[in-house]
Symmetry: C2
């Protein structure tokens, strides 16, 4: 490709709209442009990489025996009404009416449709096991789209669904996808971690996430370097860590704590430690209200709480007016004593003595509170979020934590959708069985951003060869110099003939601009044709190398071919 013909609007300035590296670089390198909040178009270089990611995903899915099909993105409401998700998705589902006033939505994920396809198409138990997938646009009206294509409202997902007649079959189908995912993310050049994930809310029996560790990741990961344990925060079991409590047999006492609404304010006002407090937080779980208690230095894990409470749809912080009504106090003074709603207590709180809680009265707290003496928990369970300083629930060694970008998710769905929609099959003995499903997603567009987050330097993107939009770039230092132009042209053609996807920077730009652009767009290897080209010498430089190396032309061409073929 001649760059004089390439739509590649690189930017020297960092666009104000971007907060994170990948987003900045995707804009600066001219890979994407924003059309609306969370909605992007892909320009030629971005699309080429996207298509390569898609192709790698497709090849590995096919190799794993999955079959590709393509659903509509525009879907009739009935599909989601049958499973109840028409309501569950709430405002995150784009909904509309057609000209005949029928309800439609843009598919956020396609469990129902694949289930229905199998109901309609499969006639014999012999056709199972079966894994179907598609690579397709998905739509979620995120409340806070951000980080470019990492959390966007339109995105491309590979979603796959397995259909089995037995649990063992599901285990095998799941393992095939696990293996395929490892191959895919390796081929994409991603350094990833596989973590155990929560599967409770959807009623499944097992779930793992493929995470790319990154400070900008929105998911917390707990992992243990000693035993290899890894789980996301929702799933990671917290072993209670005891902290000193005031010793003694005290009676509960109401204390005046004017204007102390937060743990920090209380700590300073009462000259205590955060771990001497127990926070009481009021949640709305579906249509009822519950209280959750964790130690003052801990955070409630809402997924654990949601599963514990048996909440089906939404768990969210109670509205302030409801907090006032339930506690008879301003927000910030909730406590368990005398509270008329279920109180779920974290295991660590159950180890505390003589602790401090809100008094359900504005500007008042209780101190010297003790469980079962001053109030009775509805249930004691692990409802907090793991953090650094915790121990590995598997081996007891110190746990580490990191942030991760979720690029893949595999999930043993069980019979949630086959039950809801009626997907059954007679087995070989003539017995009717509910088909057991798994679902498997890859955030295809998100993988691009994750790859950039992991592969960049101060000059720009460093594409892994497998997904680089072009493998190599040939730069004549001075495009007006006839000799340089001719030799650059020859190198360009030689590389093309040898199967290398190559750019020729034939633009009438200063050499510095060309070098900067080549680095910014992350082409894995470049050949610079300069003054010495008359002597048969050019410069060879891999994107990650410190310095360029002079080589004779044929060697340079051969080295490019070898480098690319070794890293495809």
């Amino acid at each position: 490709m001649r760059m004089s013909n390439l739509l590649m609007p690189t930017l020297r300035e960092v666009p104000a709209e971007a907060e994170i590296t990948s987003h900045k670089l995707m804009l600066r390198a001219g890979l994407i442009r924003k059309l609306a909040a969370g909605i992007y178009s892909y320009l030629p270089l971005g699309l080429r990489t996207l298509q390569k990611v898609e192709q790698i995903v497709r090849e590995e899915m096919d190799n794993a025996g999955a079959q590709e099909l393509l659903m509509s993105a525009l879907l009739p409401a009935e599909a989601y009404q049958a499973s109840g998700r028409w309501e569950v998705f709430g405002p995150s589902m784009f909904k509309m009416k057609d000209r005949n006033d029928r309800d439609f939505c843009l598919g956020p994920t396609h469990e129902e449709l694949f289930t229905q396809t199998v109901i309609d198409s499969v006639r014999s138990y012999k056709e199972y096991p079966m894994t179907l997938y598609q690579i397709q646009h998905k739509y979620r009206d995120e409340g806070r789209p951000r980080f470019g294509i990492i959390r966007s409202r339109e995105f491309i997902m590979k979603d796959a669904y397995s259909f089995d007649l037995t649990e063992e079959g599901l285990d095998k189908s799941y393992q095939k996808m696990y293996d395929a995912y490892c191959r895919i993310f390796n081929r994409l050049g991603l350094d990833f971690t596989i973590v155990d994930a929560d599967s409770g809310a959807m009623g499944g029996s097992g779930s793992q996430e493929f995470m790319v560790k990154s400070p900008i990741g929105e998911d917390g990961i707990a992992y243990c370097d000693d035993c290899g344990y890894a789980a996301n925060y929702e799933k990671a079991e917290c072993i209670p860590q005891e902290k000193p409590s005031p010793e003694g047999d005290f009676d509960m006492e109401k204390i005046h704590t004017p204007n102390a609404h937060t743990i920090e304010e209380l700590v300073s006002f009462l000259n205590a430690e955060a771990y001497n407090f127990a926070k009481t937080i009021i949640y709305k779980a579906d249509d009822k209200y519950v209280a959750a208690m964790v130690r003052g230095d801990r955070e409630v894990n809402e997924v654990k709480l949601k599963n514990l409470v048996g909440c089906v749809d939404d768990l969210e912080l109670a509205e302030p007016f409801m907090v006032r009504q339930i506690t008879n106090a301003e927000v910030g003074f909730a406590g368990p004593v005398g509270l008329d709603i279920p109180v779920y207590v974290d295991k660590e709180v159950a180890m505390m003595k003589n602790f401090i809680v809100g008094a359900n009265e504005t500007d008042m707290h209780y101190k010297n509170v003790n469980i079962n003496k001053d109030f009775t928990p509805t249930e004691v369970a692990d409802i907090r979020t793991i953090e650094t300083g915790d121990v590995c629930p598997k081996c007891g060694k110190p746990i580490k934590t990191a942030q991760g970008i979720e690029v893949g998710h595999i999930f043993k769905l069980g019979t949630k959708y086959s039950d809801a929609l009626g997907l059954k099959s007679l087995d070989e003995t003539g017995k009717s069985k509910t088909v057991i499903m798994g679902c498997y997603g890859i955030g295809v567009t998100r993988c691009l951003a994750a790859a950039i987050e992991q592969n960049n330097d101060e000059n720009g993107i460093i594409w892994p060869v497998s997904i680089a939009p072009y493998h190599a770039i040939v730069i004549p230092v001075n495009s007006k110099n006839e000799e340089q132009s001719e030799i650059a042209e020859k190198v360009y053609n030689d590389l093309k003939v040898k199967g290398i996807e190559v750019l020729l920077d034939d633009r009438n730009e200063r050499a510095g601009v060309k070098f900067k652009d080549a680095d910014l767009i992350g082409i894995p290897v470049r050949i610079v044709v300069g003054k010495k080209c008359g002597e048969g010498v050019v410069e060879y430089k891999e994107r990650t190398a410190e310095n360029a190396v002079e080589k004779n032309i044929d060697d340079a061409v051969n080295d490019v071919v070898e480098f690319i073929n070794n890293n495809r």
Copy 2:
């Protein structure tokens, strides 16, 4: 691919929902399934062909120097409001609001977005000419989706847009697309006709459609075998054909025509010929009303009328209550005499004498009406639709007519969108120029259906090799016979190694079922491994051949390879 693993739900029965051959066959061969009116999913065989069509389109677009990018399908209203098309598309645009109450739509076509992309990305006149394209889902809420994927509400389109600084540049860009389209449709195995199309309404300067002739086509084509002229009905110029009128110098006379609302009823009631009448039809053009007159045996061409009237948005039949108000009569008795709205008269009507028209009074007509004596036309012009019996406007020989499926459209847009959105560029002399655009569409999904309409027999689809989901199929007559299975397996592997995309029908089905399925899904060549396989003999049959031929195994394999490679 082993067919025991293939999701291929073929149907023996013709589905009731399908009216036309391609739709029936796509359902019967398990290529698509309906999700809602005009919305389909593609099953594995359908998707493979779709991807091949896409790839051919992509290759030829790239070869023509066009650059691929990918826009969002979900688009903010602003893009279409600036061009005025937010209103123009009317109920055929899927519209919705996001969670922040902002207006969005599903893109029906992307002129505005590509124009905006060029405004945002191109900085120098040196970057022109430029042609950009995408292959992407489009959405139109058709009032009457029908014929399967021929007129659907979600479909895949290749849309391209060229950007030039001069008219000559546009001509060149247009010609490149013309040539690329010829190559594309040839490679797809389509027998197509290129017709001149109307470009008036959009303000362009030239337009052609690529039509696949088919009785189920929704577009009329007029063509001349003598001189090669071809145009669609909207564009085809009608040379007035005179018919005998009653001779004499009569005065207009009101006659009673009870219950005669149609030309047929009048012809029989008055014992006249249809060509002795002039029909007067009331239209609503944007927000005003006009009358159009054509001879009783002719039809009004609404596109010609729309252009003549200068209607910007919609031209449609006037509402019955407005017809009653304008004519003071029941519907069916409109006439030009005394009518208080503009009257547009077809050239043929202007040649008539002493003709019959409605009297603007229920159950009454006028006879012996003469133009300029009894009423004065607003304008006389060609506003009728061409038909068999007309003459070629170019050479005067008899014209032929046919129905066509529009698979491609190329259009010199001019500056409609660059004016509306402000796409200008300084040229090399520093003068500001409005960029001149062309737009070029291919109905990618529609091409599949068109290919089937043109390539089928009573047994099923006959795929052209270039877009067949698989090239070849190997069928062991009896899958339980070990020798047949083994040899079939060997042939299957041999063909795979030689780069043939091959199916192995390893299903435990009767031979008849396998043969029927192979024909139905249209695989170009098949090898049947039967009783003689022990002697090294198998049957070779191309899908279009009358009979199978016995060959020894190696010859059969080589002949498949040769046949496929010659027809790719």
